[in-house]
């Protein structure tokens, strides 16, 4: 994988070096776990380095562009967290009201903060961060048609990316751990099943609305208890073929943002419900320049619901998220988010902090902390109970 990446990297450099630019990010990260590991085989604190260069080329007219973003992380303890990916390798062609995007890309759909139900194109790169916001590059052909009544998108997704999971030595994993060497699919074509999706999105004065449809391999697997090649008991991921309808709405009234995301998902196999409705609804209000000269404080409240109720399938069946965002609006772009997701059926809660600040012109420091509190046995997050951590990251941008 690394040599392949290096080859593409060099090839592109030679091909386009006359009218293009390189930029990127190089970082070191340290995760400190506050408690001893829950399961045998798991190790303690871990350090890692990551590298994400970005190459960009644009034609003189601006109608064609090419982007290449490889990514690699080397982790000291977990060999599953040491991984490489092509985040982007895309050609974009603009022809009047049509836009073609061909290659490997990342696409984001949705409006809410606590979870991203509607967002389904890309697979989650779970080993990067348990918040689910890191994604693997998705191969696609995407055509956008821009009209006065909104943007229409068609996606053909010819190759499926498997979700990443922490390995046996890693923290933030299930017990037993997920072994991705044996993966099951509903489709006989396995990862070569061709998925497709449609989306319509439009902005009308205060309203931003999106409707989407996805047909293909579920991005979220079920888990089947099994044995791996060395005879260990492990979880094997099983990917169903599903259909998902999605709706996302944001209304922006002065300092108020009202948000709703809802999905209807069908086609799940196994013992649980074969279809369900999930939703996230909430609001965000910002007090501008309330502290000192410029600090903004934002309040976020979201309700998370999944009509399957208390099952292992989703940790957020009846939960409330509270967030408090501080934005200092200073030269260093200092910001912090304090949050909690409280389960209304149990006493359990997830607390998190994310804060960052630029150092000088080219460095940025980020601190994250997560605490899993009172997670019940029948919650999917129960296995993370001993995995509270503080993470420090220092990145250099070039």
């Amino acid at each position: 994988m690394f040599t392949k990446l290096l080859f593409i990297f060099l090839l592109i450099h030679i091909q386009f070096s006359y009218a293009a630019e390189w930029s990127g990010q190089l970082g070191i990260e340290s995760r400190i776990f506050t408690e001893a590991a829950a399961f045998s085989g798991q190790e303690g604190d871990s350090n890692s380095i990551f590298f994400q260069p970005e190459f960009y080329y644009e034609s003189e007219s601006g109608n064609d562009s090419f982007t290449f973003v490889p990514f690699a992380r080397l982790d000291q303890t977990d060999n599953q967290r040491s991984h490489a990916d092509i985040r982007e390798l895309t050609w974009v062609k603009v022809q009047n009201d049509l836009e073609w995007r061909v290659g490997i890309r990342k696409v984001f759909w949705g409006v809410t903060e606590a979870q991203h139900l509607v967002d389904i194109i890309n697979q989650t790169d779970t080993v990067e961060n348990p918040d689910g916001e890191d994604k693997l590059g998705q191969p696609m052909v995407n055509l956008s048609y821009i009209t006065d009544i909104g943007t229409f998108d068609v996606f053909i997704l010819p190759y499926f990316r498997e979700r990443t999971f922490a390995g046996k030595k890693g923290r933030l994993r299930s017990q037993p751990y997920v072994d991705t060497s044996t993966t099951f699919y509903e489709s006989a074509d396995r990862e070569k099943h061709i998925d497709y999706a449609f989306r319509w999105a439009h902005s009308i004065s205060e309203w931003d609305v999106g409707l989407s449809y996805f047909n293909g391999t579920s991005r979220t697997p079920r888990f089947v208890l099994g044995k791996n090649s060395s005879g260990e008991t492990v979880f094997n991921p099983y990917y169903d073929l599903i259909e998902q309808f999605g709706l996302d709405i944001q209304a922006t009234f002065n300092s108020w943002l009202w948000k709703l995301e809802a999905i209807h998902l069908s086609g799940l196999g196994g013992s649980g419900a074969s279809n369900f409705i999930g939703l996230t609804a909430g609001l965000e209000y910002t007090f501008y320049s309330v502290i000192g000269e410029a600090t903004d404080i934002g309040l976020v409240i979201e309700y998370l619901y999944d009509d399957r109720g208390i099952t292992i399938a989703s940790p957020f069946q009846n939960d409330i998220m509270f967030g408090l965002r501080f934005n200092l609006n200073d030269e260093q772009s200092s910001e912090a988010l304090f949050g909690m997701i409280k389960d209304m059926d149990f006493d359990s809660a997830l607390y998190f902090i994310e804060a960052s600040r630029r150092l000088g012109e080219s460095f940025k420091i980020t601190i994250e902390a997560r605490q899993y509190s009172n997670i019940p046995v029948n919650d999917i997050l129960h296995a993370y109970l001993k995995d509270d951590y503080i993470q420090l990251e220092l990145s250099y941008y070039f």
Binding site: S23, E58, V92, D97, F108, T151, Q332, K364, F398
Partner: protein, 264 residues
């Protein structure tokens, strides 16, 4: 209609000396007439692009630098559409900001976050907050429409050897951080040379000096440099506009959410 009346006002004012002040123009009418004339002279440029360098200086003289590229589409009868792409600092490279400005109703604003590939609709209520940590607030960089203020002509004054009208402007839109602005408008070019900003307590907060004016398309004047000094914090921000280009063929479709995603 309103601007037509004001042009009439300007016309009438020309006869003031001869008509025993029967048609005396009030200071408010004269102030508005100057604003309308400035707006009229700056109409019809179509679209423009520029590179912008911001140099932020704190009270200890330490500097930090931001670079971005702006595209603006003139929208007649409404506020302009603007797309700003950030090039530095490097950690926000690729972040892009799209704004549909309006005279009195709230602007529509979106931001593109490249790390998540997420387009976020954001509130435009943050008029008085700093833009990118600079001494310019969002309302300072927003499109200047005549209807946004109530005007009052104060006096004539000469600054740097140029004759100016000194005009007070009181914001009429909501959530402004200012009680009033005082503009020094060049009599020949109808462009500002200096603006003083008075905060909510009506004390002098900031002074902006416009300099190095250049004329484009033989008609439109643009300052190549703006220096904003904050008198309370001692901080300052210098804006340098480079490579101004006009009528580059930008269209409405270069200012939507898809354009925001591929803005670089």
């Amino acid at each position: 209609m309103r601007s037509y009346l004001m042009i009439m006002g300007l016309f009438i004012s020309g006869f003031n000396g001869l008509s025993f002040n029967v048609l005396a123009e009030t200071a408010e009418e004269k102030g508005l007439a100057i604003a309308v004339e400035a707006d009229k002279r700056d109409t019809g440029w179509g679209d423009q692009r520029a590179k912008l360098v911001m140099i932020l200086k704190n009270r200890f003289g330490q500097e930090s630098r931001r670079e971005n590229r702006n595209k603006t589409l003139e929208v007649e009868g409404d506020g302009d559409k603007t797309l700003i792409v950030f090039d530095s600092p490097k950690d926000i490279k690729g972040t892009a900001f799209l704004s549909f400005t309006h005279a009195l109703r709230p602007d529509e604003q979106w931001i593109f976050l490249p790390a998540l590939k997420r387009v976020k609709r954001i509130s435009s209520s943050n008029k008085s907050g700093p833009f990118l940590g600079s001494e310019f607030s969002y309302e300072d960089i927003s499109s200047q429409e005549v209807e946004k203020y109530k005007y009052k002509y104060l006096r004539d004054e000469k600054i740097n050897g140029r004759d100016t009208f000194v005009v007070e402007a009181i914001p009429q839109y909501k959530k402004s951080g200012y009680t009033r602005l005082i503009n020094w408008i060049d009599k020949e070019r109808y462009q500002p040379l200096k603006t003083e900003f008075y905060d909510r307590k009506n004390s002098l907060l900031k002074t902006l000096i416009y300099s190095e004016y250049k004329q484009y398309l033989n008609k439109y004047w643009r300052a190549s440099r703006m220096d904003m000094q904050n008198h309370i914090t001692g901080k300052s921000t210098r804006l340098e506009f480079l490579e101004y280009k006009f009528r580059t063929g930008l269209k409405d479709r270069d200012f939507n959410r898809n354009a925001l995603k591929r803005a670089r």
